[in-house]
């Protein structure tokens, strides 16, 4: 085992029990984060990004079930951890920034109450020490007037500030891995840039592992070392950022990159036909096959094994397997 590996997700299958049946969302997701490495996960909405991230911390909703797979954190399987160990992991090792800061902060508790509660549970500190720690975290998140923020309810803060508070929460103590689940999706363009800059700056400074989940391809490209592309509960392509973006291999990745409008105003793509499949009855074989322009018979039957097309750049597509 590579000692450098911080987190390794192997063959993760996750489904949700609903009244209509089981929705098979994740189908064999794998992911590796090295110490201090910055990872990007891109994919459209509904591709299973958030489910993957929630599985790591085992905070899936009560109807979510991990059917198969392993998640190793420094060699320990998170999925087999006892509750106390899990709490320890959540308190000290991995933290998560949620997509929507408005819904992620309990509206009825002051920022300070929440932070103190978290710090006290994690570190067993005195009230004053805990408060000091919280204020420091807020200051680190570049919040003006941390005292006031500490004493505010979430609704009294702007969206950008709320997300900074979430960042502050995620940076309390010495975390080794920070998961940022679409941290800027609901923010305005200029604020987005600010928050993202802050986050990358902090991550770089502290040299922690970082999983940056996003739909914004540009933002991912600018900020991470390696990138995973997800489609319908599968990782279909991954590799060093530059390689994936400059030389996308999977038909989906190619199309996706074409779809992004360019500032240079080059010719516009026609988009990808169809939409993300229904997870109750997902397509057999490669889940992209109904939308793929290069679909072959075997695509409908088997899920393609990943192929390393260049160093560290893998793609799971039958087009390349044959070659």
């Amino acid at each position: 085992m590579d000692k450098d590996i911080l987190l390794e997700v192997k063959n993760l299958h996750v489904g949700y029990k609903t009244h209509i049946g089981i929705s098979h969302v994740l189908k064999g997701v794998h992911l590796t984060v090295h110490k201090g490495e910055r990872i990007g996960v891109i994919g459209e909405s509904g591709s299973g990004k958030t489910t993957t991230m929630k599985s790591i911390l085992r905070i899936l909703p009560s109807n979510g079930m991990i059917k198969e797979g392993e998640i190793f954190y420094q060699g320990e399987n998170i999925l087999e951890m006892k509750y106390e160990e899990l709490l320890e992991l959540r308190r000290k090792k991995i933290s998560m920034i949620f997509q929507d800061p408005t819904s992620a902060l309990n509206p009825l508790f002051k920022i300070g109450q929440l932070m103190l509660d978290i710090i006290k549970h994690s570190y067993n500190l005195e009230e004053s020490e805990a408060k000091e720690m919280a204020l420091k975290a807020l200051r680190d998140a570049a919040l003006p007037d941390p005292e006031r923020v500490f004493d505010s309810y979430p609704f009294q803060l702007s969206g950008g500030m709320r997300q900074r508070v979430c960042i502050a929460l995620a940076l309390i103590g010495d975390r080794e891995l920070i998961i940022a689940d679409e941290p800027t999706t609901n923010l305005d363009v200029t604020i987005k840039a600010q928050v993202l800059n802050l986050l990358t700056k902090l991550v770089r400074e502290r040299n922690v592992g970082w999983i940056f989940v996003s739909q914004a391809l540009g933002a991912v490209r600018e900020n991470v070392d390696r990138v995973y592309v997800m489609y319908a509960g599968n990782i279909i392509e991954w590799g060093p950022t530059e390689k994936v973006f400059s030389n996308p291999m999977h038909p989906y990745t190619q199309k996706l990159l074409e779809c992004v409008p360019k500032l240079t105003g080059t010719e516009f793509s026609k988009g990808i036909r169809g939409r993300i499949p229904n997870y109750f009855n997902p397509p057999s074989g490669c889940r992209f096959h109904p939308r793929c322009d290069f679909v072959m018979d075997e695509c409908k039957k088997t899920f393609p094994e990943p192929v390393e097309v260049e160093t560290g750049h893998f793609v799971a597509c039958n087009l390349y397997r044959r070659r």
Partner: protein, 360 residues
């Protein structure tokens, strides 16, 4: 100079606190202003109805054998010989003097009746509310905590039964079972016979008996209150347990619960703090209104248990077409309802900081 700043710092905290209070008061004031026209409308509605609908209250007041001149005298006394608007005007003027008019049923001022009977009802409703809140919280939390599991299913079925069985049926059932078949509790009234009621100070017999040092009486009253209060509380209890459960199940799915969970807060704390409080906000609204509605259900329950309260008085004035009494009963209940409404809003505003104040 430094000293001054220090003082300001301390002060600012107090000021902020006061400001918060003031914001809530302002909010309450607004609600009161909103409620007043409604109450006036209500009084006009019921007043006109009581005067316009067929029936001769004066004749009824005079009693079966009274001569004509007595009837006329009462008609004059009740101002029934005046035009409607004038009657209402004088009624309103009297109201501001604290006079709700003459009751043809009790033969005295309705105000006196209200003062006499209302505390007994409020006292009963208070106990019922205690039962209701306690039961609803206990059942709701169990149900929410074990959502979709056996305890939850049991509570849900119980809640449906609780909601569906009318309070008067509960009353009769309890009376049948716990007073007649197994005589654990008294079947009616407020005191056991022979108990002399404590001297009236507040009108709330429980408090009065304590003031008078009659602990026996206190226990006696409480003992008489158990069955009616319980019968009264069951429907609302079931209703509120359901709301609390729904709130908890709903909150369970929220991102902010995922967040605290992701940061290693233990499940017990999550439930008792981060899930319970948000689920209580909608429950408090319903609970408050349910408690106020108990006054309505109390009509039947007080009748069954012969509780000497305002609702039984209400039934009696209604059955006797005591127009001033009816108007007063409706209005007083309207006022209590409005107060309950406002109280609920204040509690909700206290629980939910977003309501009522907003930073500019």
């Amino acid at each position: 100079m430094f000293k001054y700043i220090l003082v300001i710092n301390v002060k600012s905290k107090i000021v902020r606190c006061v400001f918060k209070m003031r914001a809530i008061w302002k909010y309450v004031g607004k609600r009161v202003l909103y409620v007043i026209p409604t109450l006036i409308g209500l009084s006009i509605f019921i007043f006109i109805l009581s005067r316009v609908l067929p029936g001769d209250p004066a004749l009824m007041a005079a009693g079966p054998n009274a001569p004509k001149w007595v009837v006329e005298q009462i008609r004059h006394q009740l101002r029934l010989d005046k035009p409607l608007w004038e009657q209402y005007y004088y009624w309103l003027v009297d109201l501001f003097h604290g006079d709700l008019g003459y009751s043809i049923y009790t033969k005295r001022s309705v105000t006196v009746d209200v003062v006499e009977y209302l505390p007994a009802s409020l006292q009963l409703i208070f106990l019922a509310a205690l039962f209701e809140i306690g039961g609803a919280l206990a059942l709701g939390i169990i149900s929410g905590r074990y959502a979709y599991k056996l305890p939850d299913n049991m509570v849900r079925v119980l809640a449906y039964i609780g909601i569906s069985v009318p309070s008067f049926v509960w009353g009769l059932l309890f009376q049948l079972i716990f007073a007649s078949l197994i005589p654990l509790f008294p079947s009616h009234g407020m005191y056991s016979y022979g108990t002399i009621s404590p001297p009236r100070v507040t009108g709330f017999s429980l408090i009065d008996s304590l003031i008078a040092g009659q602990f026996d009486t206190f226990v006696d009253i409480l003992w008489h209150m158990v069955l009616p209060a319980f019968a009264l509380s069951l429907g609302a209890m079931a209703q509120d347990a359901r709301i609390i459960r729904a709130g908890m199940v709903d909150t369970l799915q929220k991102d902010h619960v995922s967040l605290v969970r992701a940061y290693g807060i233990p499940e017990r704390t999550i439930f008792s703090k981060y899930i319970l409080k948000p689920s209580l906000v909608p429950a408090v609204t319903v609970m408050g209104m349910d408690i106020a509605s108990l006054l309505g259900n109390a009509f039947m329950v007080e009748m069954i248990f012969q509780w000497p309260g305002f609702s039984r008085y209400g039934i009696n004035v209604m059955l006797n077409k005591d127009i001033n009494g009816i108007v007063a009963v409706v209005l007083v209940i309207g006022i209590i309802f409005a107060i309950a409404n406002i109280l609920v809003d204040v509690v909700v505003a206290y629980l939910d900081p977003r309501i009522g104040r907003r930073s500019a």
